[in-house]
Subunit: 326 residues, 2 copies
């Protein structure tokens, strides 16, 4: 199913996935007001975006609903308040973390739900649990993707084995997830080749979700695309955990299909996301995230540094070295 493109042609298999509410929600505990979510939904429809991710289907047994905004849980009724019957070409996505979702209870049969795709996030060590979720969601009528996180740490042989297991499942999309923002374009291309090789065998699609720790999220996304990935995650203004993601406005400006428009997203930046930053919500490239990316490690220490309003980067560099080598 994978196809390589070039800089002039349109690839009909491309799917642009706006993950702003979901990954951006990690910056403000999912406390977006309905006006923003509605404006973003309308902008995505106008911009030709193919999927909009509304947040997580998190377990209310594990997480206290008072600690988060509603998009941590994505009740179908809350999505309906934004999209009504969603009589548009934009499909609705939610993410479900393995082990943190009451999927049997909280994910309703597709015919009762506004949701189109369940994106199942897993680490390499919980693939069997992920397969159980995939099978449940597929049986309920959903499209599914499997988002294998922290792929920059994965052993290639383990990854191949995981993709073989997943290949036998009804999942539709294999996702490359560069959680640490550690991949270089050369590695993104190689991973896309590896994923696409397996995807071709099992008739799946391939996606990529990149982080911007080294200012490579956009580059890694389009390079993986050229090597066959077709589901491309991005967020408005790059809003997402830590250094953030591939910017939707960059991706839409790059794609040659005339259905994609950058202007509606520029308006969202002007009216909303730049104000979020003024209000103190933090994301985007900064030195501590660059360092965790260079070290190929979780951005946790950098997020703490940022939350503490520290600016002593040199000291952080020393601390990080100690954390990694301890």
């Amino acid at each position: 199913m994978a196809k390589k493109g070039n800089l002039l042609t349109v690839r009909k298999d491309i799917r642009v996935v706006d993950a702003t509410i979901r990954d951006g929600g990690l910056c403000n505990n999912f406390r977006f007001d309905d006006k923003f979510v509605k404006d973003l939904y309308n902008a995505n429809v106008k911009a030709g975006v193919d999927y909009m991710e509304f947040g997580y289907k998190a377990s209310k047994e594990i997480f206290d609903v008072n600690d988060f905004g509603k998009w941590k849980f994505c009740d179908d009724s809350d999505i309906r308040k934004i999209v009504g019957d969603n009589k548009t070409d934009l499909k609705i996505a939610v993410m479900a973390d393995v082990g943190r979702t009451d999927f049997k209870k909280d994910i309703l049969p597709k015919k009762e739900s506004p949701i189109d795709i369940i994106r199942i996030a897993t680490y390499l060590n919980s693939i069997p649990a992920a397969v159980e979720m995939i099978e449940d969601c597929a049986k309920k009528g959903y499209e599914t993707s499997i988002n294998i996180m922290a792929v920059s740490k994965a052993n290639t042989e383990d990854l191949k084995e995981a993709l073989d297991i997943l290949g036998e499942s009804p999942v539709n999309v294999f996702y490359i997830v560069d959680s640490y923002g550690a991949l270089y374009p050369e590695q993104s291309r190689k991973l896309a080749d590896l994923y696409c090789e397996k995807a071709d065998v099992y008739k799946k699609s391939v996606g990529i979700h990149a982080h911007n720790n080294q200012q490579l999220a956009f580059a890694n996304t389009i390079e993986a695309m050229t090597h066959g990935a077709s589901y491309l995650d991005a967020t408005v203004d790059g809003m997402g955990r830590g250094a953030g993601n591939c910017s939707l406005e960059l991706l839409l400006g790059f794609l040659k299909n005339p259905k994609y428009k950058v202007e509606p997203i520029v308006k969202i930046i002007e009216e909303h996301t730049h104000r979020f930053k003024e209000q103190g919500i933090k994301w985007g490239y900064d030195i501590p995230y660059m360092l965790t990316g260079q070290y190929n490690t979780h951005p946790r220490p950098a997020i703490s540094f940022s939350n503490d309003d520290r600016t002593d980067y040199s000291k952080f560099a020393i601390e990080l070295y100690d954390i990694i080598n301890s």
Copy 2:
């Protein structure tokens, strides 16, 4: 001379060029105090940087010395105040624009000067004037590079012809200069291939100077490198005109040669460049620069927008469309 590398090996032909004072000087009219320039010089020495560009050798007939800081003119005596006899491995660079430099008068014989390399900046239409400068500088004993600006607008056949003319000159390095920040990694690789093909014939090296309008400056730099470019321009914190440049801290963190260290540059960011931003000096990725990059056009309208402290991006998008199509 061009060699391709991979993610594990060291390439001995790599030369990291810090262009902070020169390209960053375009953000503050070259008004850097000596403390900063001296700290940066010391940091570059510690970081293993190969060349440090101090600014332009601009004509004092054309430009009023009262309108700019001294690094617009780079008197040899001013450089000496920073570097003394420069008993280090760091070489000293200056840039000279074709038609804007009194090179015969202002560029002294190498043996009287602290400068090692003269980087000659030209557009495709002034190659013969560039060759005259190259010959003069080479005769005086300098290494030279030719920095062909706005390459994203160049016709490939014209470019090949220019490189053939330059190949016959004593210039040492052919530079790819993405003035508009319009190149995608795929194009950077192709340009590096084209430049390296010519460079191999004439025994030259190839360099790249990228701009960050589409958050691709670092990606384009390392991709061109993998395809044979060896002189790699970068600036601390990406400081440079408009959207800025490839960040030196990203590049140093990527290169595998253990002589390169990122920490001294992190310290300069902490102590200097982040304060420049607080003081109101502007550079870096923003929506208007993204749009001029996507349109493959000069960042001039975006710089005006930024200088006017405007934030109405949607209106700018419409204005830019009109400018380009008028």
